[in-house]
Every structure is written in structure tokens, then in C-alpha cells.
């Protein structure tokens, strides 16, 4: 599904190398987790994959189902099937959540040459999915993320994911700022989307989220590289011993 090879990325503004040769393959139907200390390059990886400005790819490739995504505009990547659940979802005053969702769904459909969703069909689907995520009608009407609590913002991200049905879901510290109940709700939303044809890359600091979203593969990232890869037990090891031991071991 997603194949990253020898990816080197630096910041455009300053001459600073963030990713120093990332190799990673996420297969369809699998959940991969990336853990790592602050500043290891986890969020940068998610931004580079989704096409945010300010990063320069100096070497390496990233493909989605064999297609080079690094040359695409962010909206083209979205239409191709990449979805990033933001660590800090952006507030957009003046744009209604519903308008935003429908514009996004139909823009992607149009880009893929599919028929647009009618207003009534869209309403039916969005209500159904919102209900599962305990998102009420009021939240759908309000401007995007404006005045939402941390938990509401993250649930709103998952709602977008559910509506857009991406092939490759990247979750950037989706657990940050969530209490236990909210995390459970978000995790349930993610698990409901797990599917043979869909890959997941879950970026997190903590093992907690992985109690709810069970990963198939866990990677440890440090200083711009993936330094260790293992099964779910690797996450438990981090939880118990911190990163220091692992980093010392690979150093």
C-alpha cells in the first residue's frame, strides 16, 4: 500500500535535516505504529506524506500503490487515498462543518471521476457515522473545529476519515489531549474502519492508544530513522523501560 524508501527530508527555511533515510512499508489491511521520543521526526513524516509546505525531500521515494505521491499536490494525495488525522486539527471560523465535509467528499469524488453525492444521501450517511462517534447535530452545524473540545476535535477527524474512506490513514498523535473515555471512542471509530483494503500508520508517544488500536507492526523512530521494528510487544517494552534502553541497544 504505502512504500517509503530511503526518505531524506530537511526543513526549507533552515538547513536542518529531519528525516535521514526512512524505510517503511505498510501493507493493505495492516496497522503499523510508529513510536519514538520527541523530535525524532514522527510528525514530519506525516506532514511530508500529506504534502504540507515547508519541507524539502532531498532523497528517497514514497509511493501509494506504486504511484509517486511526493510530486502530488495535497488535494491530489487526498484523492489518491491518503488521509492525515491531524495532531492539532485546524479551526476554520466561518466554514460550517457540514459544508466542509460535503465539499471535501464531493471534491474527491470529482477528482476520481466518480459521481457526486446528493445532498440527501450525504446527510443520511453523515448522520449515521456521526452518531457512532457521538457527534451531535450541533457539532455538525458549527464552524469546523471552532469551540470544539480536544476530544471533539479528534472525533471530528475520525468522522472525516469515515466519510472520505481513504486507503491509507495516518494518525498523528491522535491520543494527545484525550482522556480515557475519549480515547476509547476514537479508537472504536478507527477500528470500525479497519479493512482488508486499508492501511494504517499510527503515530504515538504512548502505548495506551495501542491497547485500543492493536497494531500488527511497531516501529521505533529516533533521530530521523526507524531504528527498530517488531510486533506489539515492542510497544510494551517502551512502556515499561522507556526509549533509553532501545536507543542504547541500537546505538
Amino acid at each position: 500500500m504505502l512504500e517509503i524508501k530511503n526518505l531524506h527530508v530537511s526543513l526549507e527555511e533552515e538547513d536542518k535535516q529531519i528525516l535521514k533515510g526512512v524505510n517503511l512499508t505498510v501493507e493493505a489491511g495492516k496497522v503499523h505504529a510508529i513510536m519514538g521520543p520527541n523530535g525524532s521526526g514522527k510528525s514530519t513524516l506525516s506532514y511530508v506524506l500529506s504534502g504540507r509546505d515547508g519541507y524539502e525531500v532531498t532523497d528517497g521515494t514514497a509511493t501509494l500503490e506504486g504511484e509517486d505521491i511526493l510530486e502530488m499536490e495535497p488535494e491530489e494525495r487526498a484523492a489518491a487515498g491518503i488521509f492525515l488525522a491531524f495532531q492539532y486539527p485546524v479551526e476554520i471560523p466561518g466554514v460550517g462543518n457540514m459544508t466542509f465535509l460535503r465539499t471535501a467528499v464531493n471534491a474527491q469524488r470529482k477528482a476520481r471521476g466518480e459521481e457526486e453525492m446528493s445532498a440527501s444521501e450525504f446527510l443520511k450517511v453523515v448522520r449515521e457515522k456521526a452518531k457512532e462517534l457521538k457527534i451531535d447535530a450541533d457539532m455538525l452545524k458549527r464552524p469546523v473545529n471552532v469551540g470544539f473540545s480536544g476530544g471533539e476535535k479528534k472525533r471530528n477527524e475520525i468522522l472525516q476519515m469515515a466519510m472520505l474512506e481513504p486507503k491509507m490513514c495516518i494518525l498523528d498523535e491522535t491520543d494527545s489531549g484525550l482522556d480515557v473515555d475519549a480515547m476509547k471512542l476514537v479508537a472504536d471509530g478507527v477500528n470500525a474502519l479497519r479493512d482488508e483494503g486499508r492501511g494504517f500508520l499510527v503515530i504515538t508517544h504512548y502505548q495506551r492508544l495501542l491497547d485500543h488500536i492493536k497494531p500488527d507492526v511497531v516501529h521505533i523512530m529516533a533521530d530521523g530513522r526507524i531504528v527498530k521494528t517488531g510486533g506489539p510487544e515492542l510497544a510494551l517494552e517502551v512502556e515499561h523501560n522507556g526509549y533509553a534502553d532501545i536507543l542504547a541497544e541500537v546505538a
Binding site: E73, P74, E75, V90, I92, G94, F100, A107
Partner: protein
């Protein structure tokens, strides 16, 4: 103090190009206005309130030509049930207008100069009051030389809006119209205005609102690229009355919209809002002066401007709270969204307060499109163009939301969307 020779010459040249309509009830007010404008002269580039906007083309004897815009677009407010009054290049068109009759409303024309008319108590009166402390000579010139206009007296709740439609069919037209609106105690009217009007348009509107009266005004200034307009609203509000005015301006090389409001009765409410979208050779100026002279009144000024390709936006807004106007609640915000580095926004917010128990706030900002927001929208699959439009409409929303009627909000938003998508081609 005598006028400088250069101002005197400019004024006499302008006046020489005009003919004062003769006879009828307005004659005295016209003569008075002529005297006043002769004493003050027309706006000059060195006047304090004209330092951001060049007045030359508004003042010169002949109107600069303005090409007519070919468009098959249905005019705004098309879906609204309304009483239509049409002016073509400043000339009333009976053929295009509805019958000037409606329940609770009488409508006359300024050009039908009878000897006695209720408008005598308002015509030129509010305009003259609005000349201090800041002079507005173009409005005074208007009072003296206006060729026509509507005189609307509202005695109850008007059953539907009155819609003034201004068509522009002659490239060199120079129109001067003067309207008077009188809202009786407890009466209510919505007034709509749209259309480019003329190559050059000087319009003045005086609005007298008695206690408990309500006046809604929604205006869409036409999008003929080369037109020029100087408009002024003078309003006086009685106790517990409501005045709400919104203007959308799309294109026009030069627009100066002045609004002068006096809150003279306790608990009155005045909201003035404007949204403008300008591309290229576009200069838009909102100049607002609100005087609080009663207890517990509320005023809001909400102005938003979207500017690109060297367009210029100007905002000069003042709140004056007179001594004794306690519990005043005054709010003023002016913001611009600059879509490139060539565009500019010039703002002069002013507060002058002589009462000690008031809440007045003001703010003015200039900014670019929010990059974070843009990336967020694009990461969900919305292309850069439509995503920018969405953020632009969102930026204007605070001003558009000042329109109370939601269907009129939709009409205005529809205009903005169409304008934006045309720009994208």
C-alpha cells in the same frame, strides 16, 4: 476663512456643469445647500478625510466614461418578493418600475415638486446636521442638485421590501439622486438597492426613524468595472429604534460610502456593515461616523475587505460618545484579507468618548489567507482555488451575518461565490 482659490475654482467649475431643479417644496433646501457647499468647497486631496482616497474624479465637472458591462447574470435579489423602483442612469423608469403603492407606505418622487410635502422636514436637514464636525461636501452638492429620488414614508410594517434598482446604460452618465426615508413610530421597512447606477453616481439618503421604528437596508453595489460612486447615508434614530445597513461592493474603480448616524433616543441600535471584494483597479472607501447622544444605545461597525492585484481598501470609522451618553455599547471592527502583496488596506479607527460609563471596542487587522487552514482543506481533497474561496467567504461571513434576513444573506453570499469563481475562470 475664505476658500483657497484652487478649491473655489474647482467648485465653481463643477457647479457650472449642473442645473438646479426649480420650484416646489425643496427649493429652499436646495438654495441653502448651494450656499453651504460654496462656503465649504468640494473635497480636495489635502482634506483630512480624503487623504486615503483621491477625490478628483468625483469632483471634476464631467464624469469619466465607464464602459458598460455585458453580462447575462441575473441581477441580485431576483428571488425576493419586492416592490421595484428602477432608475436608468439616474432617470426614473416608470415602465420598468412597479406601481408605487403599498400598504402602510407612501412613495413619492423628488422630481414631482409639489409645494407642500412631509419630506421638507428631513430633506437636507439630516445632511446638514451631518456636516459637523466633519464636512461632507459631495452630499451637500447632492442636496442642491439632485434631479430625482424617492420619498418614502412608512406608517406601519411594510408588507415587502422596496427595491431600488439602478441601471447603467450610458457610458458617460453622471447621476445625482437623493432619497428620503421616514419611518414612523413602530413602523418597519426593508430597503434594497442594487446596480451600478451610472458612470458616476452621487447618491444621498436621509433616514429619519421615530421611536420604535425599524429600518433594514441591504445594498449590492454593481460590478461594472469602471463606474464611480460617492454615496452618503444620514440617519437619525429615536428611542428604541433599529437601523441596520449592509453593503456588498464588488468592483467599480472608485467607491466612497459614507454613513453618518446619530443616536438621539435611548436604547436605540445601529449596525453598519460592509463586505467588499476588489481585484486590480479598485478603490473602496468606507467612512462611518456614529454619534451616541442618548442612554444605553448600541452601535456596531463590521467591515471586511478582500483585496487582490493591487486593489485598495480604506476604512475610516469613528464612534463619538457625547457627554451623558452613558451605558453606550460601541463596537467597531475593520479587517482586510490581502490575497497578494500588491494590495493595500488603510484604516483609521477613531474613538472619542465624553461619558465615563461606556463600553467601546475597536480593532483593525490585515492578513493573508490562513496557510494552516488552507492546508487542512487541501489535505481533505479540496483544490487550492475552491479552498481559498471557502476561506474568503468565511472571512466575509462576520459582515454578511449582520444581515438579519437569512434569504438576503444567501443572496449576498451567492454574489460573492459567483464573483470568486469568475475570478478563477
Amino acid at each position: 476663512m475664505a476658500l483657497p482659490q484652487i478649491k473655489q475654482d474647482a467648485m465653481e467649475a463643477r457647479i457650472a456643469a449642473l442645473v438646479m431643479p426649480q420650484g416646489g417644496w425643496a427649493q429652499a433646501a436646495r438654495e441653502d445647500a448651494l450656499g453651504r457647499v460654496r462656503a465649504m468647497g468640494l473635497p480636495g486631496a489635502r482634506d483630512e478625510y480624503w487623504k486615503y482616497t483621491r477625490p478628483d474624479t468625483l469632483v471634476q465637472p464631467d464624469a469619466p466614461n465607464a464602459a458598460l458591462l455585458e453580462t447575462d447574470e441575473t441581477p441580485v435579489f431576483g428571488e425576493v418578493d419586492r416592490l421595484k423602483i428602477v432608475f436608468v442612469d439616474g432617470v426614473f423608469s416608470a415602465a420598468d418600475s412597479d406601481d408605487l403603492a403599498m400598504e402602510h407606505v407612501t412613495i413619492d418622487r423628488l422630481a414631482d415638486a409639489s409645494d407642500i410635502h412631509w419630506a421638507k422636514d428631513v430633506y437636507g436637514v439630516l445632511e446638514a446636521r451631518g456636516q459637523t464636525p466633519v464636512q461632507r461636501p459631495l452630499a451637500t452638492l447632492n442636496t442642491a442638485f439632485a434631479t430625482d429620488g424617492v420619498l418614502i414614508h412608512v406608517t406601519g410594517k411594510a408588507p415587502k421590501p422596496i427595491s431600488l434598482i439602478y441601471r447603467h446604460e450610458s457610458e458617460a452618465s453622471d447621476a445625482i439622486l437623493h432619497h428620503v426615508v421616514k419611518i414612523d413610530s413602530g413602523a418597519e421597512l426593508t430597503l434594497l438597492e442594487n446596480g451600478p447606477a451610472a458612470a458616476r453616481f452621487n447618491k444621498c439618503m436621509e433616514v429619519e426613524i421615530a421611536d420604535g421604528g425599524t429600518f433594514h437596508h441591504v445594498r449590492a453595489q454593481g460590478r461594472d468595472h469602471e463606474r464611480r460612486a460617492a454615496t452618503a447615508i444620514f440617519a437619525r434614530l429615536g428611542e428604541e429604534s433599529v437601523f441596520k445597513s449592509f453593503t456588498l461592493t464588488a468592483n467599480g474603480v472608485l467607491t466612497r460610502n459614507e454613513c453618518v448616524i446619530e443616536l438621539t433616543g435611548d436604547n436605540a441600535v445601529a449596525h453598519v456593515a460592509g463586505a467588499c471584494v476588489g481585484d486590480g483597479d479598485f478603490h473602496h472607501d468606507d467612512t462611518v461616523f456614529i454619534t451616541h447622544d442618548a442612554l444605553n444605545c448600541e452601535s456596531r461597525q463590521v467591515f471586511k475587505k478582500v483585496l487582490r492585484n493591487g486593489a485598495t481598501g480604506v476604512f475610516q470609522g469613528k464612534i463619538l460618545v457625547k457627554e451623558g451618553a452613558q451605558k453606550t455599547d460601541g463596537y467597531q471592527i475593520s479587517q482586510s484579507l490581502l490575497l497578494d502583496e500588491d494590495s493595500q488596506f488603510l484604516a483609521k479607527p477613531e474613538l472619542e468618548i465624553y461619558a465615563d460609563d461606556v463600553a467601546c471596542s475597536h480593532g483593525s487587522t490585515s492578513g493573508a489567507i490562513d496557510e494552516e487552514g488552507l492546508f487542512y482543506l487541501r489535505s481533505r481533497g479540496i483544490e487550492e482555488g475552491p479552498a481559498t474561496d471557502l476561506l474568503t467567504i468565511a472571512f466575509l461571513a462576520e459582515a454578511v451575518m449582520e444581515i438579519e434576513d437569512e434569504s438576503l444573506q444567501d443572496e449576498i453570499n451567492g454574489r460573492v461565490e459567483a464573483w470568486l469563481s469568475r475570478r478563477r475562470g
